[in-house]
């Protein structure tokens, strides 16, 4: 039973990672930028969520507000921060991104105080008992089902709508896509909006799980999500999903059985090194 429980916990954690890493993959696929500041939208989601929830008493309103605010924030970062420096060598946007993340973290601290905010209502704190002895918080079930639903809808949109196809075309060959009349800027807006909104959804769910929103809550996801997209084969959406879930499960077992030797947050990188030695193109990417 412990085995099943650890797998389940790993999948819950993995779906949170997936939500965060997806946005990163979308941005990388399009612009070839390692968007470290992406984790700031995870934190922003947490803050918008907790404030809206405490004002309105509605978690649904909180999630929608967090996703919209973060999505718009994502577009602003694309337009104001990345677009002007896209022609520079890759390390320039990377440094800009790291700087942006640090500034965002300090801004959250200055605006909302260092000690974090908590929910005034007990959302999704009820428990579900499955198969006799597996106990989950409602929030844990919600994060898994929510991620699955969102990712499913997105993949439908990506293959069934014109704009979805345009996005895919842009990722595989930006110049060709542009010559077919696809606006790079519009595709960029969409990718940043969707990616940041997903991170914000993850931020709300994690803050409900922990009942805590803090300025530093994005610091671990900021670099762990980078490891995940590398594992998934940079820019591959399916690879990122699989890598996130696998990492969640590996961490779940690692925390329990390797905790003395290896920090939980180091597992991602130990795993990354191993995988890259064996498959330098990433765990799930086709070689070449």
């Amino acid at each position: 039973m412990l085995f099943v429980e650890l797998i389940a916990q790993g999948l819950i954690q993995g779906s949170i990672y997936a939500l965060i890493a997806l946005g990163l993959t979308l941005v990388y696929g399009l612009l070839r930028i390692l968007h470290v500041a992406h984790a700031a939208f995870f934190t922003l989601g947490g803050y918008v969520g907790v404030m809206v929830a405490n004002q309105t008493g509605s978690l649904a309103a909180a999630i929608v507000a967090a996703m919209i605010v973060a999505g718009i924030g994502g577009i602003l970062v694309f337009r104001l921060c990345y677009q002007p420096i896209l022609h520079q060598p890759p390390f320039v946007p990377l440094i800009a991104s790291i700087g942006l993340y640090i500034a965002a973290e300090e801004l959250f601290r200055i605006i909302f105080g260092p000690s974090g905010l908590t929910y005034g209502y007990a959302f999704l704190q009820g428990q579900v008992v499955l198969f006799g002895s597996l106990r989950f918080k409602l929030a844990e079930i919600a994060v898994m089902l929510g991620s699955a639903a969102i990712i499913g809808v997105l993949s439908l949109l990506q293959t069934r709508t014109r704009i979805g196809v345009a996005c895919q075309a842009t990722v595989s060959d930006p110049q060709m896509a542009e010559s077919f009349g696809i606006s790079l800027r519009r595709v960029g807006d969409i990718n940043f909006f969707v990616g940041s909104a997903l991170a914000a959804f993850a931020g709300v769910m994690v803050s409900v799980l922990n009942n805590l929103v803090e300025p530093t809550m994005g610091s671990v996801p900021s670099y762990k999500a980078l490891a995940i997209i590398v594992l998934g084969g940079l820019g591959s959406v399916r690879g990122t999903l699989a890598a996130a879930l696998v990492l969640g499960v590996v961490e779940s077992f690692g925390t329990v059985y390797l905790g003395h030797f290896l920090d939980r947050n180091a597992i991602a990188f130990a795993f990354l090194i191993l995988v890259l030695m064996w498959r330098p193109q990433g765990l799930f990417a086709r070689s070449g």
Partner: protein, 382 residues
Amino acid sequence: MNHKKLAIAVTAAFALQFGAPAWAQVKIGINVPLTGFAAADGKSALDGAKLAVADANAKGGVNGEKIELVIYDDQASPKEAAPAATKLIEKDKVVVGVSGSYSASTRAAAPLFQAAKVPYVVAYSIHPDVTLAGDYVFRTATMGEVQGRAGAKLASDLGKKKVVLITLKNDFGQALATGFKEAAPKFGISIIKEYEYSIPDRQFGALISKVKSDNPELLYASGYYFTAGPLVNQLRAAGVTVPVIGQEGYDSEKFIEIAGAASEGTLVTTSLDRDSPSPVTQAFLKEYRAAYSAGADMVAASTFTATSIAIEGLKKTGGKGGEALKKAIEGGSFNTPIGTLTFNDLHEVKKDIQVQVVKDKAFHRHSVISDPVLLAPPTKAK
């Protein structure tokens, strides 16, 4: 810039440089983590220190001179704390230093104060190396090992023998676990398992599944309120109902806020007894609430205490620092919000451990652990 502007700028610079000492002030330096992961504790610490200074200034300061608190952010990191200490000593020329920070940074700053012969009063860092830096360093906190031993005594007082440790992987958590493990055999406590986690962790689902299968009678979990809040919340949600013993790091109203209803019944070993009859403690709690409209926590009380001890010492020496101040602190007995404190030859304090329990959304007195042998702080001899 033309010459006139330049002349004005130079004059202004000189005025700033040499004009300030015209109204002499007694300077107390403090290093606190105001940014980074420990910023919340840093704020509490600074609030505590400022209150102590404001109190003293309201009563006329030291020798009729106002006390000025010189503040540096050390981000709870040794690489920030060392330059901060150097600036306090060399540039600001403080007569005494206070640490309102964690062990890692305090350990880096302590040898610098020692080398400069500037007394350094440490509020709540618990690592043994802090006072080993030398005889100018004082500590008002109970060392981690001692608190860990008290935790074992508390477990035994509760009649629990099978314990699982959940240890925070830093100086604080490891010192506590060492003390607990050292004392456990004396009380017939068996430690079934020990798990470790690191400071950014907030999600303990996997660990809790394993703890459930270990089926302990009690959990001894080290952490700070921002790790312990989610931990206790998730433990209770997963159906783990056994008592949880925490420590000073839990001692914040924020812990109760984060863990919510799950926090009820959590026990913490700490230095602040909110139900203490001592007028000094009650006056501090009242003043703190009036000043900051929040309840004081252990960090605030400890840093208030460390700062007050520095001020009391200065009053005795008439504002002089150095060896005179060191001797004044060494020989003094200080009535503080965390008890009456005297320092031993290693400049550690000997005091009872307060056990607080969360009841009706607030910390209250559970018991007091008073065992001079078990709680003996280390001395120079060992």
